[in-house]
Every structure is written in C-alpha cells, then in structure tokens.
Symmetry: C2
Subunit: 209 residues, 2 copies
C-alpha cells in the first residue's frame, strides 16, 4: 500500500498531479455539451463533471474549469441561455474525445469530429444525433467556486430525447441498452456491465450481512 | 424515439421523476463517505455525486440533498472538519448500497453493514478498510445552491491510500485494477471494462474522422 499525503501531492509535477487527482473520484459520466453562439457557430465539448442536483425541479450541474482555453461552451451558454448534454456511447468515443482539442472558434467540433448536429423546433442548441440519450437544458444559475475559480453551471431539464425502449419499469434509463460509457482520469474510456440492482433501502429490508 | 418535455417531467409522480432524473446524467461514481461525530459515533453513506473540482489545490466536491433524512454525514463533517471518500468495489456493493437505509444515529453503518473502519494516525475520520482506493479530506467550503437548497461540500485531499500497483505511468489510477464500480439511477451497479485510451488531444493529433 502507498500513502500519498497532501504535501506529496503539492510536490508532484503538474502532469502527474492532473493524472492522479483527475482519477481519484472514481468513474465519471461521459457527456458532450452542445452549444451555439449568438451568431450561429456550433460548439461541442466533452465533459466528465456532470452531476445530478435534484429532481423537483429537475436540475443538472457541471463544472467548467478556468484553464479550459477559450471557454466557447460557457460563452455560448451565457449568450443563449440554452445547451444540450448528450451521452457518449462506444461508437463515438474517439470522436467525442477529440472535441477536447484546442480548435479555434471558427472550427465547429461537430464538423471537425464528424458528429451530426440535430435540432428540436423551438430549441436552438444543437444535440448530437449519434448520442442515444440527449438532454436539452435552460441555464438556471452559475456559481463561481472561489477556492479555485471554477464555475458550476446549473441547468434545468427542458427536453429528453431517447429511444423509448431504454425506459425501465421504474422510469429510470437502462444505460446498458443506451450503450452509455464512462471515463476514468483524463483519457480512458470504459463500457459497463450491470452487476446488481437493489431495492430502495430501509432498516427492515437490510440483510444481516 | 420519445421526447419528454419539462412539462411532462413536472407531471410525473415523484417516484417516476426520481427514477428518470437520477439516471439522465449517465454513469455515476460509487463512493462511501466516512465520518465520525464529535462524540465518536461513526457514519457511512453511499454517495453518487462526487465530482473533481481541480488539481491545484486538489479539491473534490459532492452534493448533499436536503431530503436526506437526518443528514448525519453533513453534521459530522461540519463538526470535525474531516471525512473520507472510499471507492466501492464489486465485493462490497450490497453492503455499500444498504448504508442508505434510514438507520438512527445510534447505529453505525460500519457495524450494521459489516464494513471495517480503518484509521490513520493523526486523522480522525474512518476509512473503509475493504475499499481499495481511499481518500482523506479536510472540509474547505460548503456552498448552498439556492435553487433547491442542496449543499455542495468541497474538500481538500489530504491523504490517498491505495495499492501501489494501481498507479499507472501517467500517475492516474487504474480503476479496472482497483475494481471500482459505478452507479446508474438510484440502485443499479455496474462493473467496467476499459475500451480505449486516447492521447491528450490537440489540433495536430486529431484524426481525420
């Protein structure tokens, strides 16, 4: 076993620290954020920090880090008030990963990484056609985290588009059927295999382990 | 394909809405938060909302929802200023799940769910011995999200304990080796299988898709 202290972490070079700290939270959801600028230029960004905030109202957050170059995504969300979150599946993993390259604003990641923008009537932000679970959101709040200047972007779920076969008996989404994948660290992708499902836990149904 | 609107979501019964909205963010990290009260009572809570916030300083957040009963976890963190985050692996999935039952404060989930508390010298919060990647944190900030009264708890990484074999060449953690699992929705658990690893993306190494 190794024991790495806070002091040890401070002593790491930047790349080693990024590798370590980006992987210690465990497996991360793999999503593409789709946006469009006020003048109609689309943008696509891979994000591993999407988090569920609540169901009533339905709110989802993600973390935007200050060092993310030109931050087209955040600029577009602030300008238009809308964006999409699209699950990444195995067939688009490579294309999704390379949306993280430092493309200038004039190059849309949809074009460069060969992903197809898809639109709903009356909702201007682009969905990713190849994604099997697509969410359209309206910006609800941005919260600046003073400790490190990151920004938490909170959106309200306005649209969900998916195959109806993915909806299970309890209304949750079958993420094996949608072939949704997950991320570890900065650049490693994983498919998943369901191992267990347990009931809503209470004192009475908790087994004697 | 189905198209569910924000209006449709508002019309769902509570259980259906919870099932749907808890699963739309994709796969979620599976972690146990270990805490201890000022008078020495340990607590363990399963949390699927842990998110990486930054590497310098090393910061990790998680979301505490207001409806989570007595909220022993948050009370303990506020009282002691320290807590642990422990990766859940397949062999402890069931025990980890049932820590979410409504046990009274007098019953420690460590005892009831048969998980072993483990301590570091000079750090009072309990780690989960059976977990293969364990993190000790100091409370850095709590942020109340006014939209729904949830609380984001932000901690600074003070300790990482794991098998040294999990550390890969780029210093990230091999989450397949640590058998870390992930969660979908409220109650479904998945093992993972690595499918791809890509380089840090830039304009030059982006393939012609």
């Amino acid at each position: 076993m190794i024991h790495i202290t806070g002091q040890d972490i401070l002593g790491l070079d930047r790349i080693s620290r990024l590798g370590l700290i980006n992987s210690i939270t465990g497996l991360k959801p793999a999503n593409l954020i789709g946006t469009i600028s006020a003048d109609g230029q689309t943008n696509l960004a891979i994000i591993s920090s999407v988090v569920h905030l609540g169901s009533d109202p339905p709110l989802i957050g993600f973390i935007m880090r200050p060092f993310v170059g030109e931050r087209h995504t955040l600029e577009n969300i602030m300008a238009t008030g809308i964006y999409t979150i699209n699950h990444i599946n195995e067939s688009i993993a490579a294309r999704a990963h390379f949306t993280s390259a430092d493309f200038p604003r004039s190059i849309s990641e949809f074009d460069r990484c060969k992903l197809i923008p898809q639109y709903l009537k009356d909702f201007g932000a682009p969905f990713v056609a190849e994604s099997k679970v697509k969410i359209g959101l309206s910006l609800a709040e941005t919260i600046k985290i003073k400790l490190n200047q990151t920004i938490m972007v909170i959106g309200r779920v306005e649209h969900i588009i998916m195959d109806e076969d993915y909806v299970m008996a309890d209304n949750s989404i079958d993420l094996n059927a949608s072939e949704t994948i997950c991320i570890s660290g900065l650049n490693t992708y994983h498919r998943v295999e369901k191992i267990a499902e347990y009931p809503f836990a209470n004192q009475e149904n908790t087994p004697d382990f």
